[in-house]
């Protein structure tokens, strides 16, 4: 929209003139422009007597029909900026109500304004302004009537305006001014319509002009519907006007410019004001339909300007649609902004092409005119001014000044003065051509394409393919602008896209551009490849001769030698090329020659530095989108080594097709899409097996008919049977079948990594390496694929009809198309490897893992190395493995039979003892040589540190001696590498669950405990110390409460810290972070050990190692009475059995102290059963045995080991495991206030027993203690029922009761609750206390009987 003047892109706003009182103009003008609704523009005139000419003169009624143009260029701007509709006279109230002199001055002002506005019919409004700061005062009505009469206005046009009233007063003025402006524009429209109606001779130009002006005047009024109607009417006249301008380029350009004016006004109105998107789109399509095609054959300059005009129409429409904010979902695809921008870019490209043609016409210099061309008086017209602007200005004279005041363009001044003249058609064409030379076409087009891409991406529609088109255009334009580096990535991406979708014509067009990029970059290698790929596209814009010439030239660059160089020079492209790049390809012959010269220089450098030249260019084909696969599609794969060909005659022996004795067959077929034959120097296949990479030479498959599927169809270049030594040829439009019998070096995975083709003749050439796994990665299929294959797994773009789509090798012969990896069966009898481990491992133990290796009865193995690993599945951490049979008196390996020499045995023993080493990646053992049938057993110890799954793996690598008849048919001996891998997954379980309880001292209750620093807590700190006491007291209360066992959870493990994974026991008690125990008193640690294992466990011992500051007190063990600090046992626990022990602990000092740990608990245990249930895994060669076969093999090997008496003793003695559990932090605090209950252990029924409560206050302040007696529990109690006792600092107090039980037997003491009143802490001091009450003797009963008549002895 920047191309248009502002009056065209925004709706017109009424214009009023503010006359007089300039101090009021800023405030009033700002309000009218920004706050008044609708907006009103204003111009300021300081004095009423200066208004002459401001409103212009009304023209006389036109009578003629001849017009110089259609639309005046400055008419719209003039009415928006300099021709007000209302004359607003601002006068002081004082001059209205003042003396006669002031009134006379007012009258003169009114007359001046009236005279200025009368001629054009402008409305007059008189605003009587009060002085600022004064309240509003009425103007006498007689004065108002006189003003109305004097000015000839209605009463409503005289306003009383008080600036002090602010916004309301301004709104009144704004409303009146807008109404008067609307009335003016309506009257003006009616006047124009009437004048036009009274014209005698109709003129289409005048009809169009009048309709356009009426539409603009309706816009001034805000009447959008009327404006739209008039604009449509104006546009309707354009088709008539257009039909009259055939063969007149200037007239056509004028009509086109007027149509653009009217179209932009109408579409802007529809989109921005009325939000009518369908109508706007319909108007746009009608507009383009009318003007897309020129009505005559244009000259180049007019054609270029027309493309620029079309591009501008698309761009403006796209901008209007995007800025309108309407919903674009209903728009059709071609009406989306992205598509419109793309169409604009296409038009700009066409313009650039025409401009290039014009530039070529004039030899690169823009043509010159004998003057200066400026816009004319009418829209779309041009005028030729004299070259000297001073002369033009002088000639213009005073008339120019008048025209300048009217807002006309500069040329109009000269035109008005007669100094300028219309251009002739030739001058006009020259002007257009010179204008094209000043435009940066490529930059404008690139900007448009970038905008189009952004709009397409953000459109939310499917635009993938359209984006590729836009990107191709962008690359083309960047290349045209000389920026080949920026164009290359775009074109490469587009080429890959079209390659994938196989659209040949767009691909060929893109490749032509990309090839030119490479040529500008002097990239000979890529240029040659692109030339060959272009030549391979049969449906491109090149004909067969051109493609053949291009391929020959490319081949000459690829190949080495003087004769190829000459061929490259002679194989240039023909002089003409179809398609859009005819001119660009004209000099391709010279280009090929230059490239050949570069190639010759490179060859010379190679010869100077490296001696004989080798491959000049090395191409890598690493993806299925490579251009080489367009030229050379290929198919490759192994033959199934297990596939057997049916015997040719009944009773004949079946033969394996995929492998002979000791070989595996690989085959590759390459199709040539290029129009010329491509000679090959060699073809090699690179492979990789367990022994490493190696290379084999491929030869033409002369027996292709036996294995190929279409050997008789004529599309087979190998039918000639050319041997490899004589060179291979990739014939155009035919398969070249290559194959090789690969000698088996070792069993296992054999992978074909790359196929190397060397193109050229003589001794040097270029190489193409096909990375097969990447090309066939998506086409890899299992070996047991069905016989019917819908599409052959061919990498690349295969042509040649339906016969070429068949597999180049017969699948019935076992060809696995696309299979680049194959499992080679061993050529020898592989050894047996058996791996055994307990079914359940217990965390913390060193589990016994056994390994057995037995060589086959027919083949011995040499240099065997065993590599064992144990990996924790969760953390992927290697677990430690160690030899468990390193005892010198009990060698692990026994030689079976008498086949081994004693010296070899000794050497093997030394080697075994010296070379086994545990590495970070596992345990590696050198087993040495094993004779045929020899068996060896190894015992390893696995450190089962972590719970969870553990993957055990044993990998045996060896070299086997084979005897075969490969190749020559004579018996020979060869070695073959092999390996066995046995894997086993075992599970490590948690063996123990440990419960820990800490109990306070019996019969003594600490109501309050001191802080860790008594001096700070007592007295001096007051409440902080009390708070701390409260917290500690809460912890202390928890000590005597038995916690319920918690389920094992991650939270409990996390509470134990990072060592939880290493701890083979789950600490059940969720203890607080810091325990508080009373200092100097006897406490109890109760330990409960519960077995979680699925097998029986023996607990050998349990010790408590007190920490620093903690001492163990002698106590009776729950499970044993061995000693105070150790519990010795040899109990066998089944699953869920509990082993319990109690330890008495106390602080070693009376003072309060915080200890890092209470100590640690040491538990010694072992498995109860010497031979746990074992799991077994076995492998024979590269194949793993199933579970049943592995179990049978393990049983056999175990029996064999038992017969040898080898390592069975190691298995028979379970290892002793030790468990060390750290105990939590603890704080020993001195109790501040204690309550101890003293009572006899036994009493007699009916006899009083003394219960004494001893209170002790160790603190520095007096404590008030409340004592309450509850249920007496079968006793008569004498003593205080409820009382309060003051216990002085550092002193004691006591209370006593006499309890008389009246029942015999065990009896609970009466409930006595002691509470510290100050802190609200209470404790039931008799909770759990009881005494035994003896029965009263008969004598005591008689003595106690008050009535002699009662019989004694009766209870």
């Amino acid at each position: 929209m920047e191309q248009y003047p502002s009056e065209l892109t925004s709706p017109p706003v009424p214009l009023v003139a503010l006359i007089g009182k300039p101090e009021l103009h800023p405030a009033l003008g700002d309000f009218l422009r920004s706050q008044n609704v609708p907006r009103v523009h204003s111009i300021g005139i300081p004095d009423a007597h200066s208004t002459a000419g401001t409103f212009g003169r009304r023209k006389g009624t036109p009578s003629g029909t001849t017009t110089a143009g259609i639309l005046k260029a400055g008419w719209l701007r003039k009415h928006r900026t300099s021709k007000p509709a209302v004359a607003t006279l601002l006068v002081d109230r004082a001059s209205v109500v003042g003396d006669p002199a002031a009134w006379a001055w007012l009258v003169s002002q009114l007359d001046a304004v009236k005279a200025a506005a009368r001629d054009r019919g402008a409305r007059v409004v008189i605003v009587v302004a009060q002085k600022p700061g004064l309240p509003a005062a009425e103007v006498p009505e007689d004065r108002v009537a006189m003003i109305c009469r004097q000015a000839g206005v209605e009463r409503r046009c005289v306003l009383n305006f008080a600036p002090s009233e602010g916004l309301p007063a301004l709104q009144v003025v704004g409303k009146v001014l807008h109404n008067q402006a609307v009335e003016f524009y309506m009257a003006d429209a009616q006047r124009r319509l009437s004048a036009h109606t009274h014209r005698n001779v109709p003129s289409t130009d005048l009809n169009l002009r009048t309709a356009f002006k009426l539409g603009v005047l309706a816009e001034f009024r805000g009447d959008w519907a009327a404006a739209l109607r008039m604009f449509r009417e104006a546009y309707g006249y354009l088709s008539q006007v257009l039909s009259s301008c055939t063969g007149q380029p200037q007239r056509f350009a004028e009509v086109r410019a007027v149509a653009e004016y009217v179209h932009v006004k109408g579409v802007s109105l529809l989109l921005l004001a009325l939000k009518q998107l369908p109508e706007a789109v319909a108007q746009f399509e009608a507009h383009l339909r009318l003007f897309r095609r020129l009505p005559f054959t244009p000259a180049p300059g007019l054609l270029a300007s027309h493309h620029a005009w079309l591009s501008r129409q698309y761009t403006v429409m796209a901008e209007l649609v995007m800025s309108s904010g309407v919903d674009r979902a209903a728009l059709q695809r071609e009406q989306q902004p992205g598509q419109l921008y793309l169409a604009a870019a296409l038009a700009a490209i066409e313009r650039r092409k025409v401009a290039a043609f014009i530039s070529g016409m004039h030899g690169g210099k823009p043509p010159s005119l004998p003057g200066r061309v400026e816009p004319g008086l009418f829209v779309g017209q041009l005028l030729l001014l004299p070259a000297d602007p001073a002369a033009a200005a002088v000639a213009a004279g005073g008339a120019a000044i008048a025209a300048a005041l009217a807002g006309l363009p500069a040329s109009a001044l000269a035109a008005a003065a007669g100094a300028a003249k219309r251009l002739s058609e030739e001058q006009y064409e020259l002007h257009l051509e010179s204008e094209e030379g000043r435009v940066q076409h490529s930059k404008a087009t690139v900007d448009l394409l970038h905008t189009a891409q952004d709009a397409l991406r953000s459109s939310g529609r499917r635009t993938g393919k359209t984006l590729q088109r836009a990107m191709q255009l962008l690359g083309h334009e960047l290349l045209e602008s000389g920026n080949a580096v920026a164009a290359e990535p775009h074109l490469t991406q587009v080429a890959a896209f079209y390659r994938r979708e196989r659209w040949e014509a767009p691909l060929a067009s893109t490749l032509l551009l990309l090839r030119e990029c490479r040529q500008q970059e002097h990239n000979l290698q890529a240029h040659t490849q692109l030339s060959l790929e272009l030549a391979a596209l049969s449906d491109s814009s090149l004909d067969a001769e051109q493609r053949e010439a291009m391929a020959t030239a490319a081949l000459s660059v690829l190949a080495a030698g003087e004769e190829e160089e000459a061929g490259g020079a002679s194989g240039g492209l023909p002089a003409s090329q179809p398609g859009g790049r005819l001119a660009e390809l004209e000099g391709d012959v010279a280009q090929q020659q230059a490239l050949a010269g570069q190639r010759g220089q490179q060859a010379a450098h190679q010869q100077q530095g490296q001696g004989p030249p080798e491959t000049q260019c090395a191409y890598q084909v690493t993806s299925s989108q490579s251009g080489w696969l367009t030229v050379l599609p290929m198919c490759a794969g192994f033959f199934d080594p297990t596939h057997t060909v049916p015997p040719p005659s009944p009773g004949g022996p079946a033969a394996a097709s995929g492998t002979t004795s000791g070989t595996v067959r690989f085959a590759a077929a390459v199709w040539n899409n290029a129009p010329v034959d491509l000679p090959l120097l060699s073809a090699e296949q690179q492979l990789c097996d367990a022994s490493g990479p190696f290379t084999v030479a491929l030869a033409a498959d002369t027996a292709g008919s036996s294995s190929g599927g279409d050997g008789s169809n004529g599309g087979d270049s190998s039918s000639g049977g050319q041997p490899a030594a004589d060179g291979l040829v990739l014939q155009a439009g035919a398969w070249l079948r290559l194959s090789a019998d690969i000698p088996v070096r070792c069993s296992g995975d054999l992978q074909a990594t790359s196929l190397l083709l060397r193109l050229g003749v003589g001794g040097s050439g270029s190489s193409i390496t096909f990375q097969l796994p990447k090309l066939f990665a998506a086409q890899e299929r299992p070996a047991a694929a069905g016989a019917a294959v819908a599409a052959p797994p061919v990498a690349g773009w295969l042509r040649g009809g339906w016969t070429s789509s068949r597999l180049p090798f017969s699948s019935s012969a076992g060809f696995l198309a696309g299979r680049c990896s194959i499992e080679v069966p061993p050529q020898h009898a592989p050894p047996l490897l058996v791996l055994q481990a307990p079914e359940v491992l217990l965390q913390g133990e060193r589990a016994v893992v056994t390994l057995a290796v037995r060589a086959a009865a027919a083949h011995g193995i040499l240099g065997s190395v065993l590599h064992c690993t144990a990996v924790h599945a969760e953390s992927q951490e290697q677990l430690a493995l160690a030899r468990g049979d390193t005892d010198a008196a009990q060698p692990a390996n026994k030689v079976q039979g008498d086949t081994a020499h004693p010296a070899e045995q000794e050497a093997g023993q030394e080697q075994l003892g010296a070379e086994h080493a545990q590495q970070a990646a596992g345990l590696q053992l050198q087993l040495g040589d094993l004779a045929a049938g020899e068996r060896r057993h190894l015992v390893l110890l696995l450190d089962a540190r972590y719970r969870g799954a553990v993957h055990l793996s044993a990998d045996l690598k060896y070299t086997a001696v084979t005897r075969g008849t490969a190749g020559t048919g004579h018996a020979h001996t060869a070695t073959e590498a092999g390996h066995c891998t046995a894997t086993l997954a075992v599970h490590v379980q948690l063996p123990w669950k440990l419960g820990l309880q800490l109990l306070g001292p019996p019969a003594t209750h600490s109501l309050l405990s001191a802080a860790a620093e008594p001096s700070a807590a007592e007295g001096a700190l007051g409440s902080p110390a009390i708070l701390l006491l409260d917290q500690q007291q809460k912890r202390l209360q928890g000590l005597s409460v038995h916690d319920a066992p918690l389920p094992p959870s991650a939270a409990s493990e996390a509470a134990l810290g990072d060592g939880a994974k290493d701890l083979p026991a789950l600490l059940l008690r969720s203890l607080p972070l810091r325990l508080v125990l009373p200092a100097g008193q006897r406490c109890t640690a109760l330990v409960q050990l519960q077995s979680l294992a699925a097998c029986q466990l023996d607990v050998l011992s349990m010790d408590m190692e007190p920490g620093d500051g903690v001492r163990l007190l002698p106590t009776a063990a729950v499970a044993s009475d061995v000693g105070p600090a150790a519990v010795a046992a040899c109990d066998t626990l089944c699953r869920s059995d509990v082993f319990a022990a109690a330890f008495a602990v106390a602080s070693s000092a009376e003072a309060a102290r915080e200890l890092p740990s209470l100590g640690s608990l040491r538990v010694t245990w072992r498995r109860h059963q010497p031979r746990p249930v074992l799991l077994a895994a076995a492998a024979c060669g590269a194949s793993q045995l199933n579970a049943a076969a592995a179990a049978a093999a393990a049983e056999t090997e175990t029996a064999g080991a038992a017969g040898l008496g080898g390592s069975s003793s190691s298995i028979g003695s379970p290892a002793v495991c030790e468990l060390l559990v750290p105990l939590p932090l603890v704080s020993f605090l001195r109790p501040l206030l204690t309550a101890a209950m003293h009572y006899p252990a036994a009493g007699t029924a009916g006899q009083p027993s003394e219960l004494r409560l001893q209170l002790r206050n160790e603190g520095g302040s007096s404590q008030e203690v409340g004592v309450a007696v509850g249920d007496p529990h079968g006793s008569l109690l004498a003593g205080p029922k409820s009382t309060r006792v003051q216990v002085p600092p550092h002193s004691s107090a006591s209370l006593s009761w006499q309890a008389v039980p009246y029942h015999s037997g065990p009896q609970t003491l009466p409930e006595i609750t002691v509470a510290a009143a100050q802190h609200g802490q209470a404790v039931d001091v008799t909770r759990g206390c009881s005494m035994f009450v003896h029965r009263q003797s008969p004598r005591q009963e008689v003595q106690a009987t008050p009535e002699p008549s009662m019989e004694p002895g009766i209870v």
Partner: protein
């Protein structure tokens, strides 16, 4: 006209305009490569139109200047695209239906796969004959 396979790979291309012909050397007439860009980009519109219609004939799906792209899709998502200058939609629809019949006969060939290019001269002649019948 272009027949495009399910993977947007062109299976058949023909220039059915009046001035195209087979030259003396037997070389097939070649559509102008610019129209290939238009037809290829129109596949975006075809994919959108397939989701908005149950009919096989999708009508005009795209426009390029004064040219239009009409589309017809089969149940196997094989698309027939015709670039024309505003022919009657009924004619285009009938043309597509007849071409579809011939396409089905080609697909009945046991030696033809759904991804193979249609190179049969008879098919090409019949398509040209249909174009002559309907559009001239």
């Amino acid at each position: 006209m272009v027949i495009v396979g399910a993977n947007d790979v062109p299976l058949y291309e023909a220039d059915l305009s009046a001035k195209s012909s087979t030259d003396a050397g037997g070389r097939e007439e070649r559509p102008q490569y610019l129209y290939h860009f238009v037809l290829h980009a129109a596949l975006d519109a075809v994919e959108e139109a397939e989701w908005h219609s149950n009919a096989m004939h999708l009508g005009v799906v795209d426009r390029f200047n004064n040219l239009q792209v009409s589309a017809f899709t089969t149940a196997a998502h094989v698309k027939f695209l015709l670039l024309h200058d505003g022919r009657s939609d009924d004619l285009v629809k009938s043309f597509f239906r007849d071409v579809y019949e011939m396409y089905l006969r080609v697909m009945l060939n046991p030696f033809h796969t759904s991804t193979s290019k249609i190179t049969a001269p008879l098919f090409h002649q019949k398509v040209r004959q249909l174009a002559r019948n309907y559009f001239r």
